[in-house]
């Protein structure tokens, strides 16, 4: 069980430049989304349709996985199944050994982050290179992605200048365009010499046996087309039934993620290059990963968490993510979607604070392009955690507090007596909140709770008293009125 990372949270919250970076980037992404969604009157209908298709695909997952497998094989591709990270990594390592692979180019893939593929391959002294600009910067800095679609969101041009100078030995460069061209030059060389390319998958298309990759830079196109061997690593939940479903998904994904009607490149890849085709990979592998997904699938209410298409909109719109950033979440998936995925993958008691790190404002659910009910799932997880803790004997004090509360609430006389005491115990001025809670109240676990809350001053007259007075004054008048009506 990991405690709430208080120290790291304080560090993030007190770092002014980091706070500005997170706030500005997410604000821009929110604005871009709004500008792209507003002119599309059918956007809500597209979200509903995307939700319906995902629901159908997930509820019949085994059927579509088998159909997908058949269609990939029919086109000369190989399908590999992995129960967990170890099996997935093991397959890639063995394949690299068999094929003599020394260098791998990778395009952005949260799934490979999840299984920490790079780390494992580096043990075999394979040169694994992230080629998405943001991911490349983070690989050089040895950090995890900060955001699902904008991984280096927390890095400024000056940070990048430091990283490039130190890790690439180039002259210091602080102009973003020139920094980008440095990366282009270095990575171009890697693309042209790598024997293997590893990509993720935004969608797997059952009726076509295809992998769909959505991107802006061109690095996924290069990773999938330049090297001799291509591996697409995908979670089993990524499958959708038909290529024609893309009319719905592509229209919501780009708009929700970066405010683009379509991203620059959408690749629809199926198997190795065919006879006659001039270029493209000679070998094509689709690696299907479970790694905890079937566990999520088993919970009927929460399996909709697997509909996620990784657009990052819930992160941008989350008041909590926008303060604490990506690295305070315990896993590679951050923000509201991370807060519901992590407990389901790793068990609710692993990071019990996580589903509570939400104001339940509902923004994540409002913007989700596939309509995952994130706030509802957060509440269910809270309940799961509380249940797990109380069966483990935890939460005793809280239970006692609520029993006491219930005891008082069932006894009107006692309730009246206690609430009548309140004005005498808090001699605050009317209309002003009590910022200084009387010191006698600060004891034990209540201290922490009160240190973050103000108390409203108790009114001179409470509701019951007001009601009594009002009843007494108006009785004759009301009786007269009601007799007139009759």
């Amino acid at each position: 069980m990991n405690p709430i990372p208080v120290e790291s949270l304080h560090k993030t919250l007190s770092d002014q430049s980091l706070q500005t970076a997170i706030y500005d980037s997410t604000a821009r992404l929110m604005l871009k989304r709004r500008n792209a969604v507003t002119p599309v009157p059918e956007f809500q209908e597209l979200r509903s349709q995307a939700n319906r298709i995902k629901q159908h695909a997930i509820e019949n997952l085994d059927y579509y996985l088998e159909q997908l497998e058949q269609n990939v094989m029919r086109r000369g591709g190989k399908v590999v199944w992995a129960r967990d990270a170890a099996e997935a990594v093991g397959f890639v390592r063995t394949l690299c050994k068999d094929k003599g692979v020394r260098r791998i180019v990778k395009s952005k893939s949260m799934t490979t982050e999840e299984i920490e593929l790079n780390h494992e391959l580096e043990k075999d002294r394979i040169d694994v290179v992230e080629t998405d600009l943001g991911e490349y910067i983070l690989q050089l800095a040895n950090e995890k992605p900060y955001h699902i679609v904008a991984p280096a969101l927390h890095k400024t041009r000056f940070d990048v200048a430091d990283i490039f100078t130190k890790e690439l030995g180039v002259e210091r460069e602080e102009v973003i365009e020139k920094q980008t061209m440095i990366a282009r030059r270095v990575l171009r060389e890697k693309f042209l010499t790598a024997e293997m390319g590893i990509t993720g998958a935004n969608y797997l298309i059952a009726d076509s046996g295809a992998v769909v990759l959505v991107e802006n830079e061109g690095n996924a196109r290069l990773s999938s087309s330049a090297p001799r061997i291509q591996i697409a690593v995908a979670g089993i939940e990524k499958v959708i039934p038909r290529a024609q479903d893309l009319v719905t998904f592509l229209k919501v994904l780009g708009r929700s993620a970066t405010g683009q009607p379509l991203t620059v490149y959408t690749s629809f890849l199926s198997g190795p290059r065919r006879p006659g085709e001039i270029d493209g990979p000679e070998e094509f592998y689709l690696l299907l990963l479970d790694n905890g997904r079937t566990k999520v699938l088993a919970d009927k209410n929460k399996r909709q968490s697997l509909y996620c298409i990784r657009c990052g909109a819930c992160l941008n719109h989350c008041p909590v993510y926008r303060k604490i950033g990506g690295h305070n979440y315990p896993w590679v998936y951050s923000g509201p979607i991370g807060a519901i995925l992590s407990p389901q993958f790793h068990g609710v008691t692993q990071n019990p604070w996580l589903p509570f790190a939400s104001s339940l404002c509902g923004a994540c659910g409002e913007v989700c392009p596939v309509k995952i009910e994130i706030p509802k799932i957060l509440l269910e997880l809270r309940s799961d955690i509380t249940k797990a803790q109380s069966t483990a004997g935890g939460g005793g004090l809280e239970r006692f507090a609520f029993r006491l509360f219930a005891f008082v609430m069932r006894r009107p006389g006692l309730y009246r007596f206690l609430t009548g005491l309140a004005p005498r115990m808090f001699p605050g001025k009317q209309g002003e909140w009590l910022r200084d809670v009387p010191s006698w109240m600060k004891w034990g676990p209540v201290t922490g709770w009160l240190s973050q809350r103000d108390l409203p001053p108790p009114p001179e007259q409470n509701f019951r008293e007001m009601w009594r007075v009002r009843q007494r004054q108006s009785r004759p008048e009301r009786q007269r009125q009601s007799s007139e009506v009759r």
Partner: protein, 210 residues
């Protein structure tokens, strides 16, 4: 075996039997607008110009060739083997290599040339998108490695949008191992959300309608 283990877990979680039918999936939502060719060309131009791409309407194949010649102006180009480029006389422009069928020779040319010249199988008007299917005539690398991409396309290949494309090609992988939708120049905003073009793919894109 992992395959059986994963499928078994999926079926147990969902309470399904092997081979059980999934029932009808939700109806596909395809909406094709009726838009005339002139308006489509106009839409395409507006969309691609917003992305800093260029669209040019050529009067004739000769005019298309002249545009390519002006763009090349002493630079080196590599052209695909698309029959339509031949019809326009693109391969005979000086500085252009074409007809490469060897994978490594082609890659070498693409990695060193300034302009990659292709046609396109289709294009989408509403988003300013080129649709490139990889084949013996169109290699994947020509529209990807050079810093500038020029596409010369017959105007009847311009569709209204994604809906019409997938209505026409319901299973794109029946046609090719790779279909790529190209919407504007390659770009990134990974450093401080500042837009930079040409990060890995071409930073410049020109589309000539014939």
């Amino acid at each position: 075996m992992s395959r059986e283990a994963v499928l078994h877990k999926v079926r147990t979680a969902l309470g399904r039997a092997p081979g059980q039918s999934p029932g009808e999936p939700p109806a596909v939502r395809i909406r094709i607008l009726k838009i005339g060719i002139e308006q489509r060309i106009q839409q395409f131009r507006e969309a691609i110009e917003k992305l800093n791409g260029k669209a040019y309407q050529a009067d004739s194949k000769l005019d298309a060739r002249a545009y390519a010649e002006r763009l090349l102006a002493g630079k080196r180009g590599v052209a695909s083997s698309a029959p339509f480029l031949m019809e326009c006389g693109i391969p005979s422009i000086s500085g252009v290599v074409s007809g490469l069928t060897d994978r490594l020779a082609l890659r070498e040319a693409c990695a060193t040339c300034d302009i990659g010249i292709t046609s396109a199988d289709y294009a989408l008007a509403d988003t300013g998108t080129l649709v490139m299917l990889s084949s013996a005539e169109e290699a994947r690398m020509i529209s990807l490695l050079p810093p500038c991409h020029l596409a010369v396309v017959p105007r009847e290949r311009l569709l209204t949008g994604l809906d019409e494309l997938l209505d026409l090609l319901p299973v794109p992988s029946d046609r090719s191992s790779s279909m790529v939708l190209v919407t504007g120049p390659s770009r990134t905003a990974d450093i401080e959300q500042i837009l930079v073009r040409g990060v890995h793919g071409p930073g410049e894109i020109h589309v000539v309608w014939v």
